[in-house]
Amino acid sequence: MSSNFLRRVDLIFDKDCDFKQVLQSAYKRNNDEIINELLESGLKGRGGAGFPTALKWKFTSEQPESEKYVVCNADEGEPGTFKDREILFQVPLKVFGGMAICAKVIGAKEGFLYLRGEYRFLLNELQRQLDIFHAILDDLKIAFRVKVVMGSGAYICGEESALFESMEGDRGEPRNKPPYPTVSGFRKKPTVINNVETLVYAFMIFRYGAHKFKELGTADSRGSKVFSISGDTPKPGIYELELGMTVDQFVQEFGDGDTKAVQVGGASGFCVPRKKFKDTIIGFEGVPTGGSMMLFNSSRSMYNVLHNYLEFFEEESCGQCTPCRVGCQQLKLGIEAVKRGDKHANYLDQLQKLAQTMKITAKCGLGQSVANSFFSIVENFKEEMIY
C-alpha cells in the first residue's frame, strides 16, 4: 500500500499460522488468564456495536448452567459489507479456533455458525474445513463440535436474538432484552455470540499476544479491522487496516478525487460529508463501523442513496414493532412527498423527530439505527432532499 497514513496490517489473513499449536497453548492456560489477555487487548465486537469481547465471554462463563453455546454470527447482511465472506473463504479454521477457545472459557460443548442464506456457496468448503477442525480437536482431545446452520436471507437474523429464534426454527424476530444472550441465548441457555471477524481476532490475540493487537489503533478502538470498500473508488475490495484513521485519510487512499460523502457502517451507519472528513475518526470514538465503507462522488444523488436505504429497511424490518415497521414506511414516503413537493420542506423536521423516536423506542438495533443514516444524510444534504 502506498499511503503514508494508513497501515495495512495482515494479522488475520496470514496463512502462516500453526493453528494446532495456537489452540493447544490456549487450552493449556486457565480461563482467567484467557479472559484477562482478551481484556488487555481491548478487543471490541467487530459486528458494529463494539461490546468488549472479553466481558461477553466472562459474563457467560459466570453463568451456573451446564448447557452453554458459542455461536458465530456469519449472517453478514449489512449493505456494503462483504468481509466475513472473505474471512470464511480464506481462514475458516481461525474462526473455528476462536470458537473453540471461547467454548473452553465458557464451558460449551457445542458451537454453531449461522451462515447467511446468500453464502450457501461457501457451505461445502466450510464443511470440509470443519472436518479438518474436528480432527484436530479429536487429536487434542478437545470435546467440542461446530455445526453450520443456514440462514434464509433475512437481514434481521443478523440481530443476535432474532438469529437465535431463527436457529430454533422460529420466525426471526428479535427478543426483549434483558435478558441478554450471556444469560439466555440459543435455546434460552447462556450463549456467546460473536461476529466472524471478532472470533478470528480473538484467535490471533492468542497467537501474537494482546500487546501486538493493543499496539495498533487508539485508546477507544484497539487493533485493526477488516474493511469492505465499495462505491466510487478505483480500488474496491477488502482491506485490513489499523483503526483510528480519519475519514480524510481514508478518502485520500481510496477516493477517486471527487468523493463527496462516505457512508461508514452501511445502511445502518453514518454518512460523513466532505466538510467533516478531517474531523471524523473511523472507530468507536467517531463513526463506528462493522466494516462497510461506501464512497460516493459528486455524480451521486444523496436523495437516491437515502431512498435506497429506506427501501431496504422498509423491507427488512421484521415488522414486529411499531416504530420500525411503520416508521420506515413513513420516512420513505415522507422524503418522496417532500421531493415531489406534496409536503413542505419542513416536513423533514417532522421526519427527523420521528427518526429520533425510532432511535429510542424500536425494539432492536435495526429500528434504532435507521435514524443514523437518515439524520446524517438529511442534515448534511438537505438541499438534495428538497430540490
Partner: protein
Amino acid sequence: MAKQINLIIDGMPVTVDEGTTILQAAKKLNIHIPTLCYHDDLCVAGNCRVCVVEMKGSRTLPASCATPVAEGMEIYTNTIKVRTARKHIIDLLLSEHNARCTTCYKNGNCELQDLASEYKISEPMFIDLVPYKNYQVDAFSPSIIKDDSKCIRCQRCVRTCEELQHVSALGVAYKGDKMKISTFFENPMFEVVCTNCGQCVNRCPTGALIERNYVDEVWQAIFDPEKHVVVQTAPAVRVALGEDLGLQPGEIVTGKMVTVLKRLGFDSVLDTDFAADLTIMEEGFELLGRLKKALVDNDPNVKLPIATSCSPAWIKFIEHTYPEYLDNLSTCKSPQQMFGALAKTYYAQKRKLDPAKIVSVSIMPCTAKKFEADRPEMRSSGFKDVDYVLTTRELAVMIKQAGIDFGSLPESHYDSIMGVSSGAGVIFGATGGVMEAALRTAYEVVTGREVPFNGLNITPVRGMEGVREAAIKIEGTKPEWSFLEGVELKTVVAHGLTNAKKVMDAVRDGKGKWHFIEIMACPGGCIGGGGQPIPTNEEIRRKRAEAIYREDAGMPIRKSHENPEIIAVYKEFLHEPNSHKSHELLHTHYKARQRY
C-alpha cells in the same frame, strides 16, 4: 419469598418482587401506563412500544411491559420525551390503520381509539398508508371476520391462538411493510384449522377480528308477523351480559335478561339450560351404556374414555387434531343443537305451530356456535335447527339499539315449555360444570343416592386449574347396575385447547386412564367464551364462574333428572334416554378434518 427489589417510579419509591416488570410495579403505585400488545392472559411481546418509559442512565426508552425491574432503577412514566414518543407511536399505528371509526363494529370498544382519544390525536401527523396497502377482509367464516385494514400487528391473536389454544391458525406472515397476521397459505379462516373459538376476537384491541353478526337478520325475523321467533339463552350469558350494559363482572342478570328479550319482541323466551339438563340425561346414559359394554359385555370396540361434545370449538379441534379419537366423543349434540332440534319438533307440536314458520335464535357466549349451527348435520328437524346464533355482545347491541335501560328492568321468568332448568344445567357455563352435572345424575341413577358431596357441590372438579382430575368410587349400587359396584369412576376436566391437548396426548400415550373427559375450548369454560363481553382476564372469568355457582346453589332443583320438563319430554316425546327418537334428534356424528 422472592428477592425484593427497590426502585423509584415518578419520584415514588416502590418495593416489588424480583422479576416484576416496570409496568406491574407502576400499577402498584396506581400509575397507569398505556398498553396495546400487552394482555393479562398472554406472554409478553413488547412489540407495540406504546408503554415505553424513561429510565435514568438508558439511551433508549424501554418497553415497561417487557422490562424487569432492577435495584435502584429510576423510572419516569410521564416526561416530554415519553409523551412525544408515545404520540409518535400512536400516530404511526393510526397511519397504518383504517380509521373509519364511525362505521366500525368495534366503535366505542377499541383500545386504539381510546388511546387516540387519551393522547388527543387531531390532525394525522403522518401520511395515510392505507391506500398503499392491499388490505383484505376475510368474511368467509360463519363465525369470525378478519379485516386486515384494522390490524395493528400487536399479535395478541397470534399468541392467543398458540398459547391458550394450541391451534396456531393465525400466525405472522411476511416481514417489514408487508408483515401481516395470516393463516396457513393465506387461506380463509374458514378453510384452515381455526376452531372458531373466538378467543382472538376477545383479545383483539381493535376491529380486526370480530364475530360475524346477525343482529339485523334477527330484527327482521322479530318484526316479521309470519314468524314465531323463539330464543334460547346459554348458561354463561346470564352472568356476563351485564358487563356490556354497565354492570360489574359477576352480576347475575337472568331475570332482567328474560324481561329484555320479551321486550325486544321474541315470541318465546326459553332456556338452553333445559337442553343442558337433557344433555346430561343423554350423555349420562351414554356413559353408563359404554361402561356396561366394557365391563359386562367385554366389548373390545367400546370407546372409553368418553369425551364431552358440548363445545363446538373443541369438536372442531379434535376433528383436526385427533381424528382417530372421534369415536370417543359423546354422540350427543350440544345443548344449543338439542334445543334447536326440539324447537322445531316437540315445541312446535305442543304449541301447534308450523315449524317452517319458527325462527330459532340462540344467545351464546360463543362464536363457534355460529359455525356449529351451520353444520350440515344440524338439520334433524327437517329445517335448520338453529337459525341464528347471537353472541352475548350482539344481544347487548340489540338492547342498546332498542333504547332499553337494562339496569332498571324488572325480573321475569322463562316461558314454557323448554324454559325450566336445574342448577345442573346452569353450571354447564363453567369449566367442570358438565362433569359435575353428569355425576350428580349418573351417581344417583346407579346407586339411588345423592353424590356424596356436601350440598351436591362436587368441588374437586371446580376451579381454574387447566387440567383437574377427580375420582368417585361407586358403592351400594342398585341391582341393575351391580356391575359398577366398587368401580372408581375416573374423570378429568380441561379448559382451553392447550389443556385439551395435554389430556388427549395423555390418552394417546396411555398415561391417562380416565372414563370420562370434560373439555371446554375456552379458558374458564363458556363463561370465558369467545362471544362474551370484552375485556376478559382471569379475575373477570373467576367472578363469572362464582356467579354461575351462586345461581346453581339458589335453584330449587339441582339435578337434571329432577327437572319436571325433562321428565315430561321423555314421557311425551322421547320415551327414554338414548331412544331411537333421541338418536334421530339429539345425537350426531363427526368428521375427520385435515391438520392444515
